[in-house]
């Protein structure tokens, strides 16, 4: 059984067909990099996985269970799928520590002390445990994004979604975030990453998926994808960004 399966997923914004017949499956522990020009539907696709976006046709299965099945509690589902946004979206009124412990305490009912201990471990893992008592506005962009990753990991998710996690960062901060993501990939996390960081894709992706106009045009292991792209659109895209 695959971790995530997309069956004929279609989505429209009014008349605009954003996702067209998406069929794909992601195995447990697999790292998928999704790339493509802006407006191609990549963010929309991964946001469908935790139901931040609704789709009108088709099915998405997580470990065999339909996302929209009657037995699915959306809050429980989301708590098992972490997401990291382009704009970090940390809670500005809470300290770094509280940003991380909020969901474990409120959703999982983890005792405060345990949640804080876990948060400190996660902060250590992303390399910023000395900033626990600070507020998001006091941190750099790269540090904020690492807090956002720790916040998502605090729910011990089975899947991590990354929605252009480095696009809002200054160039010198991109690597500190990518390194955390690489560690995660090596530890066996199932990851769907929308990113333009082709170095990251080369190094840790199991497969690279190329999307345009709401369709998956091609997908291949990184070596093959970069060396021998098949589709004209892909060739053009790679020429533009590499």
């Amino acid at each position: 059984m695959s971790m995530i399966e997309f069956h004929n997923v279609n989505k429209w914004y009014g008349d605009f067909h954003v996702l067209k017949d998406i069929n794909e499956s992601v195995e447990s522990g697999e790292v998928l990099v999704i790339c493509g020009p802006s407006g191609s539907g990549k963010s929309t696709l991964i946001r469908c996985v935790n139901r931040l976006e609704e789709y009108q046709k088709g099915h998405i299965l997580i470990e065999g269970r339909d996302l929209h099945g009657d037995d699915v509690n959306v809050n429980e589902l989301r708590s098992e799928i972490g997401i990291v946004f382009q704009q970090f979206n940390l809670y500005p009124h809470l300290s770094v520590l509280k940003n991380i412990t909020l969901a474990p305490i409120k959703v999982r009912k983890t005792p405060k002390k345990d949640a804080e201990e876990m948060a400190m471990q996660l902060l250590e893992r992303v390399g910023i445990h000395s900033q626990a008592t600070k507020y998001p506005a006091e941190l750099s962009g790269g540090q904020q994004q690492r807090v956002a990753i720790a916040r998502a990991l605090a729910m011990k998710p089975k899947i991590m979604l990354f929605d252009e996690p480095t696009s809002a960062l200054d160039p010198e901060m991109i690597n500190e975030v990518l390194n955390v993501m690489k560690d995660l990939a090596r530890e066996g996390m199932t990851m769907l990453c929308v990113t333009h960081e082709m170095g990251f894709a080369r190094e840790v992706a199991d497969r690279v998926v190329f999307m345009d106009f709401g369709e998956i045009l091609e997908q291949a292991p990184p070596d093959e994808f970069f060396r021998n792209p098949k589709h004209e659109r892909t060739k053009l895209f790679l020429k533009e960004i590499l």
Binding site: L52, P92, L102, K106, V107, P136
Partner: protein
């Protein structure tokens, strides 16, 4: 003009006591009404933003109705009119209580919460949508996301308009003297009728209102300063 000012008369003895008793009632009715209208206003605002149609209609009607009718008429309605639609048992029970005070609190609360709901709603709108999204994405329910993420940020932004609502409650509470609540204004009026020293009585009560209002806005501003540090605008 041969008016003899007599401040001592108003500030000491029995009349001084009346002023203090009135002040206490004013503080009590304002405090209770502020707390209740914050609660009710929050509920009305969250109803208005929910996706449940009947709740949206209810809160929209509530807000427009109570915001656009005079407070004095509402006070009279609750005091003189509400018994007609309440069950007998409730009426009997109510008359054994301090009905004037209760009618005063109800009208002040309902009236003020309509305004507060609008402030809260605009506060919630000013919080970026991605805050709700980020918290829902972690598995928080809509109510949890509202209570722990959106509302705490919204409240900090709307503190200045909220202060003026609180101050309005304190000032508006003077209207409840018309249904016999013995508040500061009622007592000042009473002293005037007993002593004909209306100038002193109303000067003292005016100054007391002024001081209470200044203290309230000072306190809330301090709170504001302390908590707004890290909220970027």
């Amino acid at each position: 003009m041969n008016y003899q000012f007599n401040w001592k008369l108003v500030l000491t003895g029995e009349y001084g006591q009346w002023i203090l008793q009135g002040l206490w009632i004013t503080l009590e009715i304002s405090f209770v009404s502020i707390v209740l209208s914050m609660l009710l206003g929050t509920i009305i605002a969250v109803f208005r933003l929910s996706r449940v149609k009947p709740l949206v209609w209810f809160s929209a009607t509530f807000t427009e109705f109570f915001r656009n009718t005079p407070l004095l008429v509402q006070i009279f309605f609750w005091y003189f009119g509400s018994y007609a639609i309440l069950p007998d048992a409730v009426n009997k029970w109510l008359y054994k209580q301090d009905f004037e005070f209760a009618a005063g609190v109800i009208s002040l609360t309902v009236y003020t919460s309509a305004f507060i709901a609008e402030e809260i709603r605009s506060g919630i709108f000013s919080i970026p949508k991605n805050q709700l999204e980020a918290s829902r994405a972690c598995g928080l329910s809509f109510l949890q996301a509202m209570s722990f993420v959106v509302l705490p940020q919204a409240f900090r932004i709307i503190i200045p308009p909220l202060i003026s609502q609180f101050l309005n409650v304190i000032k508006n509470s003077s209207l409840v003297m018309t249904i016999g609540v013995m508040d500061l204004t009622y007592m000042a009026r009473q002293i005037e009728s007993y002593t004909f020293h209306g100038f002193e009585a109303f000067t003292v009560s005016t100054l007391i209102y002024l001081v209470i209002s200044l203290i309230v806005s000072l306190l809330v501003n301090q709170y504001n300063k302390h908590f707004l540090r890290f909220i970027p605008h």
